[in-house]
């Protein structure tokens, strides 16, 4: 039985609480969160779980084998480092850290001490992503030409992350899992509607070796939630719509076919060319599988699928994209200001 401490009882932390509690191989020994009243609430329903307002008692408790960190991103590094230094296995929420330097340091420390360092990129345990990976790795889709993601909703406007760091980690971890590449070139644009220093809309283009281009349309400004990823290949195309309950994943048996110029004159626009297949997906809750995987990795029974190196690669790409986005935001702001100045001067 692995004894686990959970840091953070926000929205996702409460999910982790439920899932850790229900895993028969894990024992939730402690929860760390300064929220007032938490201790009383948990004392009634879960008398065996200790509640602390800060991390010190957990770090000092040699009975605790592992920690799960679901606090704001800015605190990930300090908590994870302290836990690793105290000899504990670590699972940390995504994005792993605020910078690639921090992430690299954690990877180093975990490796040096032989501890598990896992990042909770939950989507890599989602049945649709695993099916997408199967389609890509088996070359059923053919040669991949693009990955197109639309990930928009009304945002929670979190204090310590912008829309890029909030939403892009999902896509970047999926791309890493599907294609095992980091981007060669990154282009970015966006806009800050609400908070002048924090973009709430971001458009990213990532270029990968071998003619694959990825585009991310991220927004916190859309009342309509969209979670749609299209992966296009020379043989087939797959579209995952995470909000479609009945048929979340569709595989279009169509590719790009070329007609002679003569023929083209005769062709009417058609909406699709081949048949569509919607494979059955297993129905288990991905987070349950994440925690079970964490347990098995700690026990040496499985190789970690979302280890610190994956987390580091995602953070490194986020950093590079942020730099491009900053540059674009500055340039556009200057352009708009210059135009306004010239309008004023002309009056």
């Amino acid at each position: 039985m692995i004894k686990v401490a959970l840091f953070g009882m926000g929205y996702w932390g409460r999910n982790l609480f439920r899932v850790i509690s229900s895993n028969p191989g894990l024992q939730l020994a402690a929860v760390v969160d300064p929220a007032p009243g938490l201790q009383e609430r948990l004392a009634a329903s879960h008398p065996n779980v200790k509640v602390y307002p800060d991390a010190a008692p957990v770090m000092a408790d040699s009975d605790i084998d592992a920690v799960v960190i679901a606090t704001p991103v800015a605190s990930h590094y300090d908590l994870a480092r302290a836990a690793l230094d105290a000899g504990k296995h670590v699972m940390v929420e995504k994005p792993m850290c605020s910078s690639s330097d921090e992430a690299a340091d954690l990877v180093f420390r975990a490796a040096a001490r032989g501890l598990t360092l896992m990042v909770d990129h939950t989507f890599l345990f989602h049945p649709a992503v695993m099916k997408l990976a199967e389609l890509v790795h088996s070359e059923a889709l053919g040669r991949i030409s693009y990955f197109d993601s639309q990930r928009v909703n009304l945002g929670l406007f979190q204090p310590d992350v912008n829309v890029l760091w909030d939403l892009a980690p999902h896509d970047l971890s999926i791309i890493d899992y599907l294609f095992q590449h980091e981007p060669v070139e990154i282009e970015a644009s966006g806009y800050c509607h609400v908070n002048p220093t924090s973009p709430d809309i971001a458009y990213l283009t990532f270029h990968y070796p071998g003619s694959m281009v990825a585009h991310l349309n991220l927004s916190w400004m859309s009342p309509v939630k969209v979670r749609r990823i299209a992966v296009g290949g020379s043989a087939q195309m797959a579209v995952w719509d995470d909000l479609n309950r009945e048929e979340p994943l569709k595989v279009y048996d169509s590719g790009i076919t070329f007609q002679s110029e003569q023929e083209r004159h005769m062709i009417l626009p058609s909406y699709r060319i081949g048949s569509v297949h919607s494979p059955r997906l297993a129905g288990s809750e991905p987070l349950v599988d994440v925690l079970e995987h964490f347990r098995r990795v700690i026990l040496g029974q499985e190789r970690c699928k979302t280890d610190g190196r994956l987390g580091l690669r995602v953070v490194r790409t986020l950093e590079q994209a942020q730099a491009k986005l900053d540059f674009s935001l500055r340039r556009v702001r200057n352009g708009l200001a210059a135009q306004q100045a010239s309008v004023v001067a002309a009056e």
Copy 2:
């Protein structure tokens, strides 16, 4: 009765043929297209329509009042210029010309001779776009923060236009009609999968005065056709899905609302916040209205809604976007080449 000559009997030309023929105030006098066998086919069914392989007889025929040009883009300027110089009214397909210089010259010539110069931006006659315009102009949506268009399908890979010039004119004419602005800054990226010098995927970000950002996701590489435009404002958001027959336009009675930091911790993700309204749209065929409008503009009964100046603004923005896109494509190609070289050198 206005006598009209039609240039080009491709896919769209045949639609124009049908619609011109059925307008009781227009008389289709001639068709110009070198396609073999066309003369015979039309002689049987439409004995009163003359068929010419080239433009000269039409230009010389003083009985013909107006021409409709539906030939490849590269020929628009020469044909429209010749027609205007021959004193004929002109309606030309979108995009109006291959360059803004050409477009400006046509605008000048039409103005100088007092002739109608109209561009067939059909979508501005579409009931959904007219409803969108009403929502924007009445400020029902509030202050607009973004325009987001996804316009993807399997492309016909036309010889003389790339995906930008093929698909963006729709969005640019709609943006012009809704917001009456040209962009202040343009950012572009894309990829050439099929033809190495002609992008088949393009991502465009346009920045407009007053905090509005527009994004276009254009592709000829998608077996799934998507035609979706979202316009987000401070009060409401409108989404037009042109492939949804039952409810093409939806207005979401939702805006961005701000919670105190305390409250935010409690909020579960929700898919939408307000109610949704799908207004009834009139069902007439836009192209029928385009031709009737052309007729009335010629007769001085209506002010032209899609005149040469609109066409010029669209072409000018296309040109600027093309320059940005070329720059991006070159930079990325060099980056990929450099990376490949370093890989080779390292081996």
Copy 3:
């Protein structure tokens, strides 16, 4: 070249006009319709088509080889009989006649003179129905257990047919084509909201040999149009949604599987069990194929797919269903009246 006369220029008649005109092997020689102004309109656009206010000149014209009858149902028999007696081939709109006696008489006369008698059950030329037939006949669906059709919309409240005779012919012809059976038992209920003697809602249950049950939910009272047919078999289930443009036909790779009682307690409700396949359907317009088929049948090149005997079987089933429906309507009306009387008596 087969010379054809068309009777009736209502909504469907105008479609027939267009399709007959465009078939190179048919020549539309005459149109019969008393609508004022029709002659003038057609004289301009189609000078070679004669227009008559009544049928006599067509019946007397030995140059006319075939007639297409798209008039109100009540007139089908007289027109078809006169045409057959005049030695002309006949295609008649559905439902074929107002009674099975009429329909049987036409079948007899056509057979006696060796003339083609075809009923325009257009749906049997629809790609989705042909695909459904392929799935049923190849036994891909397994043993069929039900056919379920929902066919509702806002009705045009035609003067000479009720909702049963307006909508059920579609389903009955499809069932005949798929299963080659007439029903053994019929149950019917319905309601007359608008016209007290003509039901605008009808629910029909047809029992067929071999455990197949068919249910039709027909309504003229629904603002939402639904055109959905489900065919369930032991191996697979097919659903055709005629209003779904992208994926009109879906085949669910699921059947009824039986679990032991023990297992059943563990099963959570799930929306579907197997994968879903949406085959590509050919895109041609069914009515074009109907007319081409009529031409070939006349020439002896094809065996008639929707002949008078099929039309007769459909009318016979309509008659039987009408009798059941009348009985139910009477019984319910009496029941309601009795209840009202008892309420009044009790007061």
Copy 4:
């Protein structure tokens, strides 16, 4: 604090367990279920909940104020009667009993002792049903002409209920709540595919006073789950699709409008006539509200919305529908047998 005992830990019982446990005004004191291992499982996680294999200890325990019965239908009456006789408040799953005699007896006993008798018709606490009721009761829909329900899925083929008793209680309770009427006439048909004495498909037509007709299409044979209720009125129509997450309830601003015969000839088929409105629905879990309502009714703070009399009316209608269905099944079976006999005789 009201002490509650729960009978039955099947699928729905486990939901009740969770919801009772989380209601701060209820204390789950005991669970009754003979399932092996249940005692051990609950001892670990919920040491304060007693587990019994049969009902006797609960009935004898005067500390227990109320029971919630989620056992198979056949046992509802005995358990509820024993609990009422022991002076306990009762909430029983739907359908309330196997017969109206049983249901009436429970209503009598509860009334005689002044105890709460509630039936868990959860849907009457569903936000969509409450909104539908508001639309009907405020006469926003106008005069109601029909209620149409399609409720199909792959069934669990429960041992003690058929498809009618499994699925119809939902619709019948909703109809009772919306219209406060019992049917005047009932018509029924169906089929037994799997178990020869228990229908797995049932079609029901209910006639209500005042021209309202209700139709239920119930099936356990459909791999595609459908949960769709349409309520049509003279002013508007409402459609509730329980599987549509984004817009479960749509109100169509359309009614039946009448055109002169002349106009009707001009009308093309259109999919809808007015605009569509999708109101926002509150997001709470209905079962949570059911249990809180039960608590308040016991405390005399609320009048029971789903009391024993409602449960009795639903059971009475089920009984009458079952009789009609039995008659139809017998008649059809005889008809099929007679036909088969005549075929054999003819050979």
